[in-house]
Symmetry: C2
Subunit: 333 residues, 2 copies
């Protein structure tokens, strides 16, 4: 019994499951108990982060695995405009990951929890030949203020936060082992892949101000995530390729086929916010919110087609080529 | 994109994620949104159900895997006295499990959801070489009424619902392939292992009536789960071996070393309720609640020792030998 208990004690110590502040019962009982603070709606999401599918034990630092597992899940709350409160951590680990690796994993997850304002409320630990982390993140939002995928209307402008394709560039460097060869120069290019920042302040600002009609986080890639919004809203879109805030790719990497536009269109895991704003409100949209830049990249259209307009004014269909775990070529990403 | 979308559509169709009744946004968005109904506390739990650790693809019917994954998680709510409301389903599946297996899995899970009053609120799907199901179950309870592990006091009587050891007996038959050889005769012995019933009505009755001072579900086995209650409450216990409602083992199975007492003490996954009741209230305790029998098996004591009194009045230390996923001999159960 000692081993599981010890693991749970290390989790509780590092992630400090505080009761109080709405959490009446934290980890150590059959379930967590929490009460609402005032008039509020609860927002819940669950997300799996799996060895080989999402991360590689030999290539990813344990701190980054712990940080990113929680960041990914919390990004779904950002995309609703919710405020994060609690999380439940379900861990499946090989024995080899229960020592030093686990301590470093917890350091990263603890950093993420503090940064996002999350308190551990409960969890589950299991032994497994492959490491897997399942996170459930719970937040709240003013009733009726959550921003859904389904509210985009023809004429709305399409906006995106930050820069797209940075996480994909980092992943490609890591997959090729290039980050080791030129460590100093390319280390910062890994940053977005290892430590994405859920756009919580921007999401909450958009929800509170009522400016955004639809919102999603760019987890699968712009081409796929925009298709999700259009499908949920029953609309189409056109996007201007030259307006997309694309990752800056060093020239020696362009040579090996890393194209900024493709990375920005189809690269996943940037965890930026993609949202739509009615045209009349767009002119009052600041260029940045809480330091995060906002760029208008296109317009919602009638019909169902999603089009990409290139620099020369040519139009082509904008196929969703982002990540799908069940598509054949997606394994190993 | 088609494959993941199709899987989600099949989930939504079979498990019917209804909005309404407190669920404002169900599956299909970044997160679920729900609002409280009246003055209530939320109860949340998360639970992983993994291939090879908890079930075997070749031995367990897919319907049973779907049913049991949700039953196990919901049992944690029963142990708090909570009413189940919603669940989030996180699925990691090999491609081989996305066809017929998946449909049968959903049939079982749908049966469980209907039976427990649960509505699907959201989820996540992933591809993985090993099947894994993570459930987050959300319920509610009248504020202050949740029954914790930590409330047992010296002099309280220890009670258990149903019969202990039945699930373990079923598992042993299945592991030895004996259920196939004498299918008709032993099929019902598998029932508790394949289709455990979370004691929701009993748990809610105990919470509402305020009779139980501490409660846990017997997921790891009586010896381990009683130790959890004693540790959380800072007390000891004595248990009368002859009073434990033990599984009835057919004589031809006793010959191969299946001992009813050992099965009842250390066998996991019965998902019965183990709870403590102040002595003055115990005399008014009915013998069954909603058809589920209740048996008094022991008494909470001062100090930290947990003792087992055998039929001859002899006392011995009652070691926790139930299931621990990180103990060496636990793999494969």
């Amino acid at each position: 019994m000692a081993r599981e208990k010890q693991l749970i004690e290390r989790v509780a110590q590092k992630l400090r499951s505080r009761s109080g502040a709405g959490l009446r019962v934290g980890i150590g009982d059959d379930a967590a108990v929490m009460h609402s603070r005032g008039r509020t709606e609860w927002v819940l999401t669950t997300d799996a982060f799996l060895e080989n599918a999402h991360f590689l034990l030999h290539a990813h630092p344990p701190e980054a695995v712990g940080y990113k597992a929680l960041a990914r899940a919390t990004s779904d709350l950002a995309a609703m405009g919710a405020r994060p409160l609690y999380f439940l951590l379900s861990l499946a680990l090989p024995l080899s990951c229960t020592g030093k690796w686990f301590d470093r994993f917890l350091v990263g997850m603890s950093r993420a929890a503090r940064s996002f304002g999350l308190v551990l409320a409960g969890g589950d630990t299991m032994r497994s030949p492959l490491a897997g982390i399942n996170l459930t993140v719970i937040g709240d939002v003013t009733p009726g203020k959550a921003v859904l995928r389904s509210g985009a209307r023809s004429g709305d402008l399409i906006c995106v936060s930050g820069t797209l394709g940075e996480a994909e560039l980092g992943l490609r460097l890591l997959q090729r082992g290039l980050h080791k060869r030129r460590k100093r120069k390319w280390k910062r290019l890994l940053q977005k892949h290892l430590h994405p920042e859920p756009r919580l302040a921007l999401g909450q600002w958009l929800a509170k101000s009522g400016r955004a009609t639809a919102m999603i986080d760019t987890s699968d890639g712009l081409s796929t995530d925009l298709a999700h919004v259009c499908e949920a809203s029953g609309v189409g879109a056109k996007v201007w390729a030259d307006r997309i805030p694309k990752v800056s790719v060093p020239s020696d990497l362009r040579k090996i086929g890393l194209d900024p536009l493709r990375l920005a269109l189809d690269g996943g895991e940037d965890y930026e916010l993609l949202f739509t704003v009615p045209k009349r409100l767009a002119q009052h949209l600041p260029r940045a919110v809480h330091g995060v830049p906002i760029t208008i990249i296109g317009e919602i259209t009638r019909g169902k087609r999603i089009l990409l307009m290139d620099d020369a004014g040519r139009t082509k269909a904008f196929r969703a080529r982002g990540w799908d775990p069940f598509r054949k070529d997606s394994v190993g990403k």
